[in-house]
Amino acid sequence: MTGGPWVDVAFWTFSAAAAVTGWRVFRTDSMVRASYFLLASFVNVGAIVLLLTAQYLGFAIIFMMGVEMTVMAVFMVMFMMNPGGLMPMSMVHQPRVAALGGVALGGGVAAVALASTFPSRPVGDATGLTAELGVELLGDSMLIFESAGVTLLAAMIAAVVLSSRRGRYGEGDEGSAPPALDPEETG
């Protein structure tokens, strides 16, 4: 993509949106809202990657994050300590330590970005970049990506097996009773 004022405008707009939605993740009061604020942040990062003409990577970020944030929302609600995770709650743990750590890390990354000199190479067309990515994934970096892929697959199968109702010893919920609808009965 040829540079120009509109690319700059788009870059700063997406950057600001990514930062603001990222900040909202910690200021909201629900796991589902936090997940989707994070998704909005990632979508904006994906849009910035698209500005670099890395079409495959940019759209893949949006694609993957849409799925991942949905899974994250479901799992967080599922494992929440309050009933169903449906009560408003704070999204931060140890806010002081986290704030200090965040400032230190963010400052470090910003310092690296400001201190280093970046190569100024005009990027080619998107089709060429997608092909280069494919060669990289299945060439030099094949071992890394394949081992990561197989590890993730094993984790997925393990998660399905652990959460399956039917197991080697029969139904997982055999002998258990569903919780009473009337809270008086449970007491």
């Binding site: 079409q55 759209f59 949905t70 479901v74 998107a126 997608t130």
Partner: protein
Amino acid sequence: MTGTWAGLGLSAAVVLGGAVLVAALESAAGAIVAGTRPSLVQPVRRVALLLVQERTSTERPDAPLRFLAPALYLSMAAVGAALLPLDRDLVAAAPSAGVVVWGAVESVVVVAVFLQGWSPNSALPLLGGYRFIAMGLSLVLISMFVLIGVALPAESLALPEIVAAQESLWNVARQPLGLPLFLLVAMGAAFWGPLNLADGPDLATGTSADSSGSRRLAWSLSRAAILTTFAAMGTTAFLGGWLGPVLPGPAWFAVKTGGLLVLLVVVGHLVGRVRPETVVRRIWTVLLPLAFLDLAQAGVVAL
């Protein structure tokens, strides 16, 4: 890119015209199944009723998301339609990674339907939303496998090239498993007929249960638009898109997409709704292996 603006206009026509067509087909099919005379006035009357109907409210809903969910769902139909070539050189957007953009559309569809269920802060819509996640995330996998299958003969992820590669033989003949699997994905994305887990009567219309008036209308229209866009994607990926003799390209595109829509609506009326557990189990134990088989076969043929 030539034809960007014409392509954009025609994509909007696909989405809106398709939604109207689905409403008409749905009402006609419903009347035929019920043994009454199909009427063209009935859908118009229903739209008018929804426009003047009061919008119900729930206790402490998430108001912005309640508004955004149907908008997100409809805009995904529009983004999807903008990718589809209506003729040679007549496409609104032709990204080189078109199939990946389509994948992003599908993943945001799951988000939109879940948020429609979550945002009213009400039990039955929430259950519909959760059910849709279970089905939707599973179907995204099926969809990606069959779409990578059609990218193989074209040696490209760009949709115009996928259509162009079908000049000699349509993908429906080259990869016979692809189209049926993709039509199931289409049905799932619009939670249609047998795969209507999100809006089923057992949940008192689930994700729609607390939507009335214009909100309900927006949701139903978005759903019809999604069904149309997915049928149009089926045309593009498997039925040769705009390819065909005598008639101009866009006409062939419309005829094929209309045919798939009729099929989807009729199946929706003839096949009963399947239980959520059964749907998810069958997707993972039957459809996913079939999608693997489809991809393997596509790969062997492409080699």
